[in-house]
Symmetry: C2
Subunit: 452 residues, 2 copies
């Protein structure tokens, strides 16, 4: 965080403690709305309302839309009906939808009742698009001009109607509101103002996203084509809204966070660990952990098949976690590399065969290195036989686990599941199973332990 | 990937196979430069040069700057000197710096020699800023206007001098080039054109980033304040360049990828796994794995202290991986949650105490659940004594590992190290050590195994 902002937050907390309301107001006047929102989420629940009510009315809706949902809810619940109505009706449509989509049906109805009819209709329409779709994150307030207007008329129209956020690009639509082009406003400035808009249109179709396509896909398009705004269209190509690059940064960050949590075997968490309740955190974690216990039980049952061998040669236990864990670690590396590369699009599902060959080479190289390292330990703890056993076992297990870690994300992707479901703990559990099987069957075969 | 683009790539490969150069040219004419770059990275090394040479000269530099560095290098190496000179001198300054900073000193000198003197000086200046700093990713080509000019004069100046990318905001500087304001171009359009620029300036200081600050910090500022462009300034506030939101998306994505790789215990990989050589992949992975072997050896040595106990009660081995792995998994969850929350700024290092209390509660809850689950297995495999042992051990180990997973990222952060260094395999290794110690000392204490 910015040290300047950090300073302001400390000052704000101090003024709250002293209850110096005039000074708080003065401090707020000098802060930007995003910083105020950030500060509000740092002060306690009670102070949140105190500070918010000290804001100039004109800044309230702006600050409000930069708050995280739980803080927005807390404020609305504590506000008198008229204040809540004012804030909700002043919010940008996309921010409002972002809030409304998290509510349970009853609260949603209560909040909708506070809004004017037009806003209700618009919000319901947007909530009707699929979750995480382009339609949900777009701003539906988009102005567009007619190709037969003069540039002067078009610019004047834009100046009158467009809001702050969306007029670096001017959208041109036909009579059925089908999008014809997205022209950068600077092109308007360069041409003579009595020429028709039509002359600025190029042959190329505008880059668009369908309203039901995923918001992540929209983000990837904006990133791939270096766009500032991406028009959202319906089935017949009609302009329905616009997604801007700042919306998209949040979408991509949320997507990365989701993958990050998945790779650590945490369920999708809609809130930061700071804001999530202990029970939510418990719920999102315990399922995976119990599932993995079931998985590990299979491994334990395998080990129990070899109890005789272990009793005959207890030093085998010494190397068990060492070798099995190394497999898990190597598999974890392969899986994280692949999951991320698939997520960013650096690698697509068609690349699996080429990568598989490369991964096999890398894995064998790593396996041999690790095998040599562990064979030194083997010599020390158990002599030449054990050294040979652990070296071979390590090589095979590392190679096996790397293959699993590499291929599982591709298999999940092919099955239309999220590759990040190949979490490190899951890969580790699979690698453990394979490792136990490889290690003990090798031990039995090489050391003749089955026939004591 | 877009299905339309995928189709074009298949068509391109087919035309390359048939060597239909005229058709390839026609296909390229209809493709956008970003799509051509994407397609070029999908065709083989030989075809890369073939297709690139079929491009109109005017599009070559544009397509080139969207290629990943290894592909850029391959093209430059295969190009005649004059072609290479042409491409390099047509590139935007920030893209050129992005390429040059990856070169070894000798290649760098060779390429610099191809450039005009002004470009060399500019490139060297930019390469002088610290790695991953705002100065490295900024575009130094930034035009600015004088506060005393009329709006008409300022707009005309911008139209003549600014390139495509950077004129949604107009920068206003004083005589020493100190930045006074960043005014959205739409404000210029709204005011009468004979008024001085000065009238559009507000009291608030413009949001800027220092040239030596990190590019990630710049990205966070752009994200936090919803900016399209962020001016980069020197020590006295002089305007040195500009960072745009599209540069920043790549910075954030690279940062997420780095964290992702670290959490899977892979070293920082400057390339996608697709482009990285097998040896580079080997090198980035084997170090961590060997380090973890050393760590696991300590665990193995601990186990060997309990060989007598194991020989007396071999069923202990059955539960060992089950319990120890569960600790690792719970720790992995805590670590991924914290690493990501610290990276996105949802959580700061000052929050550790509050989160620690919450985590302890969650961890004990999870531990008890897991303990109950595993005690059923314990009853089945070894009776009431074993059930009690594994239930208590599981609870303690899960709670211990969760604490480690939660706290280690904060400790690393406090030590100015990257929290993501608390990788899942590292947490697992630490959890294993603790788990082995807790499990066997509990076994000895509860079951009286030390005195057989």
């Amino acid at each position: 965080m910015d040290s300047h902002l950090e300073q302001s937050i400390i000052e704000l907390k101090e003024l709250l403690r002293l209850d110096e309301r005039t000074d708080i107001q003065e401090l707020l006047d000098y802060m930007r709305v995003q910083d105020i929102a950030h500060a509000l989420m740092e002060v306690g629940e009670h102070d949140l309302g105190v500070v918010f009510n000290l804001l100039e009315p004109g800044r309230k809706a702006d600050v409000f839309s930069y708050l995280e949902t739980p803080h927005q809810m807390r404020l609305l619940e504590a506000s008198p009906r008229d204040d809540a109505r004012f804030i909700l009706s002043e919010m940008d449509a996309d921010d409002l939808t972002g809030l409304l989509q998290t509510l349970d049906p009853e609260t949603l109805r209560a909040y909708l009742r506070l809004l004017p009819f037009r806003a209700i209709r618009r919000a319901l329409k947007q909530l009707n698009y699929p979750e995480d779709s382009a339609g949900r994150v777009m701003s539906p307030d988009v102005v567009a001009v007619d190709p037969d207007w003069s540039l002067r008329r078009a610019l004047a129209f834009i100046r009158r109607n467009a809001d702050e956020h969306s007029n670096n690009v001017i959208f041109v639509v036909d009579q059925d509101r089908v999008l014809l082009a997205a022209v950068p406003i600077r092109h308007f400035l360069r041409a003579a103002s009595d020429r028709p808009v039509r002359e600025l249109l190029s042959d190329a179709d505008p880059i668009t996203i369908g309203v039901s396509e995923s918001a992540v896909e929209a983000a990837r398009k904006i990133q791939h084509y270096d766009l500032e705004t991406l028009p959202v269209v319906g089935e017949t190509g009609e302009l329905l809204g616009v997604i801007t690059v700042d919306d998209v940064m949040d979408v991509l960050e949320a997507e990365s966070t989701e993958d990050f949590h998945k790779i650590g075997a945490v369920g999708t968490l809609p809130l930061s660990p700071q804001d999530a309740s202990p029970f939510l955190l418990y719920r999102k974690r315990v399922g995976w952990l119990l599932g993995l216990v079931a998985f590990n039980t299979i491994g334990a049952l395998m080990i129990s098949q070899y109890e005789e061998a272990i009793e005959a040669l207890v030093v085998l236990v010494f190397f068990l976690p060492l070798i099995v864990d190394s497999g898990g670690n190597a598999g974890a590396q392969s899986a994280t590399l692949m999951v991320r590369a698939l997520a960013t699009g650096e690698v697509t599902s068609r690349d699996w065969l080429r990568l598989w060959g490369k991964e096999l080479g890398v894995a064998v190289g790593i396996g041999v290195t690790m095998g040599l390292a562990v064979s030194v330990l083997g010599l020390w703890r158990g002599g030449a036989d054990i050294a040979l056993l652990v070296a071979i076992a390590m090589t095979l297990i590392v190679a096996f686990a790397s293959m699993v870690g590499m291929l599982l994300p591709f298999i999940l992707n092919r099955m239309k599941l999220d590759p990040a479901t190949a979490s490190v703990p899951l890969i580790t559990a699979i690698a453990d199973l394979g490792g136990i099987m490889i290690y003990f069957s090798l031990a039995v075969a090489l050391l003749g332990l089955a026939t004591p």
